[in-house]
């Protein structure tokens, strides 16, 4: 299982997905209507490293994190 975490204002609890790569995560999350407005705006990290492509294989215990638009300071 891969854990998906939603940071900051998304306000959704982590979920567990049975997936093999980041493309599968995208497919699963796109089914969730609540999340659709966030997907266009979120950056993605795998095991706390930001990624720039969906061509990422995932293994048991990996963590995918969604980061919505930021504003520090």
């Amino acid at each position: 299982m891969v854990q998906v975490e939603f940071l900051g204002p998304i306000g959704k609890k982590p979920i567990l997905l049975e997936v093999k790569n980041l493309k599968d995560v995208a497919k699963e999350l796109q089914k969730d209507k609540e999340l659709q407005k966030w997907l266009n705006e979120c950056a993605v990290a795998v095991n706390d490293r930001l990624v720039q492509s969906l061509d990422v294989e995932l293994k048991e215990g990996d963590k995918v994190t969604l980061l919505p638009p930021v504003c520090g300071g």
Binding site: G8, Q30, C71, G72
Partner: protein, 147 residues
């Protein structure tokens, strides 16, 4: 060095500690940026969520860039509520001479605004409201929306 605090920053205390550190290290230039919460409309405070694992990486990458120029960075940020007229953010650059520090403070603070994983909320009547219109998408956002 990256420092995170619950609530508002004790600016004077942090500044004094940083300044004395820079003097001991023989840096000739010390430039700070301090962000203070302004009173606007009905805002009582700003509130912040911070994602520390990626913030730490982001900061360490900047520290390496600074090091390559003989400079050193410090940053302090708040977590949670920060009332108006108090401060949530301090950044500093130390360098042997002024030019590097003057250039680096601008790049460092601007990239912080664009990419550091921190979320801001306005606190109005005790409730947090995400400052969506003032927020910036991190580079590479939207990946999961693609088919």
């Amino acid at each position: 060095m990256l420092e995170l605090y619950l609530g508002q920053l004790d600016v004077d205390k942090i500044f004094l500690r940083w300044r004395k550190w820079g003097e001991r290290k023989n840096y000739g230039a010390f430039i700070t940026f301090i962000g203070t919460v302004r009173a606007e409309e009905d805002i009582e405070a700003l509130s912040f969520d911070v994602y520390e694992p990626i913030l730490t990486q982001w900061f360490e990458e900047w520290q390496q860039k600074a090091k390559a120029k003989g400079a050193y960075l410090m940053m302090a940020h708040s977590i949670g509520n920060v009332p108006v007229h108090t401060s949530s953010y301090m950044a500093a650059v130390f360098s042997p001479k002024r030019r590097v520090a003057l250039e680096l403070i601008e790049e460092f603070v601007e990239d912080f605004k664009a990419n550091a994983p921190i979320w801001k909320y306005d606190v109005i009547a005790g409730k947090r409201r995400y400052a969506r219109e003032r927020s910036h998408k991190i580079v590479g956002s939207g990946l999961l929306a693609s088919k």
